[in-house]
Subunit: 215 residues, 2 copies
DNA sequence: GAATGTGAAGGTTTTCACAGCA
DNA sequence: TGCTGTGAAAACCTTCACATTC
């Protein structure tokens, strides 16, 4: 009985973690798993696991636990990783090229279909079997190729302009690696990966260990 | 009058954002900034800004606002980015090599001093001016070189073993790119960058836009 | 007058605890 | 008996509102 309540960011992130754990449990031929086991695997509490899952339905059996395979598939459905997504990547610099070869992406159904850059020397060349296109045509090519998710890996100065072009192509999901706060209209989902910020978090913990709860 | 209360993760992350904004304001020769201005720059509320800062002291002047340069320096101090940190990177694959050239790191005082890999073909070779060492000697070399922060960019199967070696070297801060939940003892700070998880978050939003608050 | 610093209020997330079911 | 599902309680985080200071 899923209620139409807003789901918190943390619940969604934990869903990813449950999913990962369940994939492993399934590989290891476990049939069922209790909220306690699942919680231990991901260093969470059993109540948290049950509450999170309860937002989406009643997947378990009292006295027994959750059926591994079935729960895995249900969560895959909820997360949208039971289908393929067309992904484009803008900015084929250090991070961009690393992402092209990042195996975890393809494994989960995220297919990198298009690459873009603004460097004339790169445009037209092949990168791991994908031709690099001119970012000048970004909006049109995203539309023509039915891209659903775009990854931004350009320098911060160019990120907002690129982002605006992406939004114009009606793309509703953006993953941003540029260390800048992008503005997107309502209805567009934006996630940020900011490595410098994570390092700053760590240095904060090193300097202020009395404030900072362990790891 | 900083109280000895635990600081929330979100406050620490916002501190990084204030810092970035203040660096820019200082470059643009602003002398003072109000909580309202700072909030607008980072899409937050003025009350949030004031509350966050108040955990660490009273940096502003009533009726005037905060002195930009001074606040920037104070936050740099709090975040620990007023000093240099010795960083090592384990795993010189796609992501690892991208990180070596990531300019944002060095700019903030995070100096990559050592590189490690387990691939005999890579060990001993030069990567952007840094020699790649054998991960077999990880613990000893981290100790000998007074490394304070280690970045893990190895495949998930090897991540926990690498992590254990890092902990043995008394390193207290780890940034992990492997899609796995590492176990670290109390007192060690661990941050995770999980790109697959961010993409899953986006696909969740695409599939469940009714649950998912905008961007 | 203008904007900080901060208790108190309000909202959200997590944990508790137990009823309910296999 | 064992473990889920879930209201209620507790903890936590954000916003409000205003006294306070320049």
């Amino acid at each position: 009985m899923p209620k139409l309540k807003r789901i918190s960011e943390s619940t969604i992130s934990r869903l990813s973690r449950y999913y990962r754990a369940l994939v492993q449990l399934d590989k290891d031929n476990y049939e069922t798993v209790s909220s306690k086991d699942l919680a231990n695997l991901e260093h969470l509490t059993p109540a948290q696991v049950r509450k999170d899952l309860s937002f989406f339905g009643s997947f378990g059996t009292r006295g027994l636990g959750y059926p591994v395979r079935e729960l895995k598939d249900k969560i895959a459905r909820i997360l949208g990783v039971d289908q393929e997504w067309n992904v484009a990547l803008v900015g084929i610099g250090n991070i961009g090229s690393a992402l092209v070869s990042y195996k975890e992406f393809a494994r989960q159904g995220f297919k990198i279909k298009l690459l873009f850059d603004n460097d004339q020397r790169k445009i037209g060349s092949n990168h791991k079997g994908i031709v690099i296109r001119d970012v000048a045509n970004l909006t049109r090519e995203l539309k023509d190729n039915h891209i659903e998710i775009v990854v931004i890996a350009v320098p911060p100065q160019q990120a907002q302009a690129v982002c605006d072009d992406i939004v114009k192509a009606d793309v509703k999901a953006i993953l941003n690696f540029a260390p800048i706060n992008l503005k997107v209209p309502k209805g567009v989902s934006l996630r940020n990966e900011n490595m410098a910020m994570e390092l700053e978090h760590l240095s904060f913990c090193l300097v202020n260990d009395h404030y900072c709860e362990q790891g």
